[in-house]
C-alpha cells in the first residue's frame, strides 16, 4: 500500500462529474417510481376517454343540432377537450418530480452526489420535459384521430391538412408539456407536494372563477393571461372560441406567455434552492 492510497483508497478519475450522468440519474429516478406511471396513465385515459365521450355525444345528437350549434361547431377542439382535464395529471407529476425529493428527504442524497443544485433542477426539467412532451403529443394526436373517426359519418370532421388543425393538435401537446414544467417550477419554489398542487390548481381552476366575479373591463384585460384560457385557445381552430374571451392571445403567443411563466417559476425555484438549506 502506497502513501497516497492511505489517504484516498481509490485514485479519482480525471475531470469531474458530468451533466450527462446527472441527466441519466434523473431519468432513472423518474422511471423508477410508480407515481410517474400512474400520472401519465391518468393523462392518457382522461384525454382520450373524455375525447371519446364528447365526440360520440356530439355525433349522436348532430341531426337535432340547432343552426347556431352547427355554425360554431369545432370538431378539433371537441376531440381535444380531454386534454384540458388531463392538465391536472401532468401538473401533479411535475410537482412530484421535485417535491417528492424534499418530502422524502432523498434531496439530501441527491445534493450529496451533485452539489450543483441549479444543475439538478435543470436536469429534472429537461428529463421530465422530454417525457411529458412525448406522452402529451402522442395523447394529443391519438385523441384527435380517435375523435375524428367517431365524428366521421354523422357529423363534420376535421383532417390534419385543414388550416389550423395541425397547429391545434401539436400546440395542445406543447401546452400540456409547458404546463407540467410550470408545475415543476411551483414545486421547486414551495417544496411541499400538497401546497404546490393546491397553488397549481388555484391558478388553473380557481383563478378563472375569481375573474368571473370581477368587472368586465378588468376581466377582458386579464382573462387572456390565465393558463386555462390560453389552453382553450390552443385546442381550437377558430380564432375566438366559445368561452367568452374578449381578446385572446393568438395560439403561439399564448404558448409563449405560458412558457414565460414556466421559465420564471423554474428560475425562482432554482434561485431559492441555492439560498435555502436542503
Amino acid at each position: 500500500m502506497t502513501t497516497t492510497s492511505l489517504v484516498r483508497p481509490v485514485p479519482l478519475p480525471h475531470g469531474r462529474y458530468r451533466t450527462s450522468g446527472v441527466l441519466r440519474s434523473e431519468w432513472t429516478k423518474l422511471r423508477s417510481v410508480r407515481s410517474t406511471t400512474w400520472s401519465l396513465l391518468a393523462m392518457v385515459v382522461i384525454s382520450i376517454g373524455i375525447g371519446i365521450l364528447a365526440t360520440s355525444t356530439e355525433a349522436a345528437r348532430w341531426s337535432q343540432a340547432t343552426l347556431t350549434d352547427r355554425l360554431t361547431f369545432d370538431p378539433v377542439s371537441l376531440s381535444l377537450t380531454g386534454l384540458l382535464f388531463a392538465q391536472l395529471a401532468i401538473g401533479v407529476l411535475g410537482v412530484l418530480v421535485i417535491s417528492a425529493e424534499y418530502g422524502t428527504g432523498s434531496i439530501r442524497a441527491t445534493f450529496s452526489a451533485v452539489p450543483n443544485r441549479p444543475l439538478v433542477l435543470a436536469a429534472k426539467a429537461l428529463v421530465f420535459g422530454v417525457v411529458a412532451l412525448v406522452v402529451s403529443e402522442v395523447v394529443s394526436f391519438a385523441a384527435f384521430f380517435i375523435g375524428q373517426a367517431i365524428l366521421t359519418g354523422s357529423a363534420p370532421h376535421a383532417t390534419l391538412s385543414q388550416p389550423g388543425v395541425l397547429r391545434a393538435v401539436i400546440g395542445s401537446g406543447l401546452y400540456l408539456t409547458i404546463l407540467g414544467l410550470f408545475a415543476l417550477g411551483i414545486g421547486a419554489i414551495l417544496r411541499h407536494t400538497a401546497g404546490a398542487i393546491s397553488v397549481f390548481v388555484a391558478i388553473l381552476l380557481v383563478a378563472p372563477l375569481i375573474l368571473q366575479a370581477l368587472p368586465e373591463f378588468i376581466r377582458d384585460r386579464v382573462a387572456k393571461f390565465l393558463p386555462a384560457n390560453i389552453g382553450v385557445t390552443i385546442i381550437s381552430t377558430s380564432p375566438n372560441p366559445e368561452q367568452a374571451q374578449a381578446h385572446p392571445f393568438p395560439a403561439w403567443v399564448g404558448l409563449g406567455v405560458l412558457a414565460a411563466y414556466a421559465l420564471a417559476a423554474l428560475l425562482i425555484g432554482g434561485w431559492l434552492m441555492l439560498r435555502r438549506d436542503a
Binding site: 492511505l6 481509490v10 446527472v22 423508477s32 428527504g105 452526489a113 450543483n116 438549506d277
Partner: protein, 322 residues
C-alpha cells in the same frame, strides 16, 4: 481529512452551532459526541454542503464540498435514515446516485451485498424496516468508495448484531486509512468504537481529545474500601489527605489516594480490609459530568408546566392502578 473552522449556524435566536473548529484525521475513527440537540447533525450537514453556515467553513481533503470534482467518490455520508424515496427500490436508489458520479453498475451490487440487502434490492424502500433503511443509507455512503465518511447516529434502529457489524465496519474503514467521522449521543458506544473524540454541548466544542485522555481528564478515580473498623480507617485516610465518602452499605469511597497507598496505610494502622477496589468512572459518567452544563433542557430550568406536574403521577397511571 475533514477540517472545520469557526463553523457557526444560527436559526433565528438559537445558536445551533457555535464557532466549532476541529480536525478529523484519516486512519482513525473520530467520534462526534454530544447530547441530543447539541448541533451534531447540523454540523455534519454543513460539512456536506447541505446547510449553509452562518459563519466559518468546513473542507474535505482541503476543498469545500461544493468544489469537489467527484463528490460521491470523495465523501460518503449517512445523514439521516430517511434520505430515500419510499417508492423507489433500493437498487434504483443506489443506481440513480451512482450514475451522477460515473460509478459502475457492479459497485451497486457490491455495496448491496456488503450491507446484506441483495435479496431485497428490487423491493421498494418504503417496505424496509428501520434497520434495513439504515443499512441502505450505509450502502449509499460507501457507494463511491470514498476516502472520507460521515455517519450520523449509524446504529440507530439496528439490532445488537447490526450494531456490532457497524462497529467493525467503521473500524476497518479507518484501518484502511480512511477518515471516519461518526456521531453519537451514546458515550458507551463511542468508548468501544472511537479512537478520538470531538465532544460538543449546546453547539460548542467541549473537548477534542483521545478516548483514554478524555476519561482520565474528566473522571475522578476512586477506591472502594470495606473495613470493619471504618471510623478508624476514615480518620487515618483524612489525616493522610484523602477525601472519604460513605456508601449506604458502609463502604468507604476514597478519592485522592491510590489503592496501594490505602492498603499500606491500613496495614500501618493494623486495620483489616475486606475489600479494596479501584473504581474508574464509566465513560458515560465522564460524559454526563462534562456536558452537565451544556444539556439543552437542564433540570434546573424546568418550564413551569413541568414543575407543576413534578412528582405527581400522570392521571392515566392512576386510572390504570385503580
Amino acid at each position: 481529512m475533514i477540517e472545520a473552522r469557526g463553523l457557526t449556524k444560527r436559526y433565528g435566536d438559537t445558536l445551533a452551532v457555535d464557532d466549532l473548529s476541529f480536525d478529523v484525521p484519516p486512519g482513525v475513527v473520530t467520534g462526534f459526541l454530544g447530547p441530543n440537540g447539541s448541533g451534531k447533525s447540523t454540523t455534519m450537514r454543513m460539512i456536506m454542503g447541505l446547510d449553509k453556515p452562518t459563519a466559518g467553513h468546513a473542507t474535505i481533503n482541503g476543498r469545500r464540498f461544493g468544489h469537489l470534482p467527484w463528490p460521491l467518490r470523495e465523501v460518503g455520508a449517512l445523514l439521516e435514515a430517511k434520505s430515500i424515496h419510499p417508492g423507489r427500490s433500493a437498487y434504483n436508489h443506489l443506481w440513480s446516485l451512482a450514475l451522477t458520479n460515473d460509478i459502475p453498475k457492479g459497485r451497486v451490487d457490491e455495496v448491496l451485498e456488503l450491507v446484506g440487502l441483495s435479496s431485497v434490492a428490487k423491493k421498494r424502500a418504503g417496505k424496509f424496516s428501520l434497520g434495513m433503511g439504515q443499512r441502505l443509507g450505509i450502502a449509499a455512503a460507501l457507494l463511491g468508495d470514498p476516502g472520507v465518511l460521515l455517519f450520523d447516529e449509524p446504529v440507530n434502529g439496528l439490532d445488537p448484531e447490526g450494531i456490532r457489524w457497524v462497529r467493525m465496519l467503521l473500524r476497518s474503514l479507518a484501518a484502511e486509512g480512511r477518515t471516519v467521522f461518526v456521531s453519537s449521543h451514546l458515550m458507551s458506544e463511542m468508548a468501544i468504537t472511537a479512537d478520538h473524540l470531538v465532544v460538543v454541548g449546546r453547539g460548542r466544542l467541549i473537548a477534542d481529545t483521545s478516548v483514554p485522555e478524555f476519561i482520565a481528564k474528566s473522571s475522578r478515580q476512586s477506591v472502594r474500601v470495606l473495613c470493619p473498623r471504618a471510623d478508624a480507617l476514615c480518620g487515618a485516610l483524612t489525616g493522610a489527605g484523602a477525601t472519604v465518602a460513605r456508601e449506604d452499605d458502609g463502604a468507604l469511597v476514597v478519592t485522592g489516594m491510590e489503592a496501594a497507598g490505602i492498603g499500606e496505610l491500613a496495614a500501618a494502622h493494623q486495620l483489616p480490609l475486606h475489600e479494596l477496589t479501584p473504581q474508574t468512572a464509566s465513560l458515560e459518567e465522564a460524559f454526563m459530568e462534562l456536558t452537565a452544563g451544556a444539556v439543552e433542557f437542564h433540570g434546573e430550568t424546568l418550564p413551569p408546566y413541568a414543575e407543576a406536574v413534578a412528582g405527581q403521577e400522570p392521571p392515566w397511571q392512576q386510572e390504570a392502578a385503580s
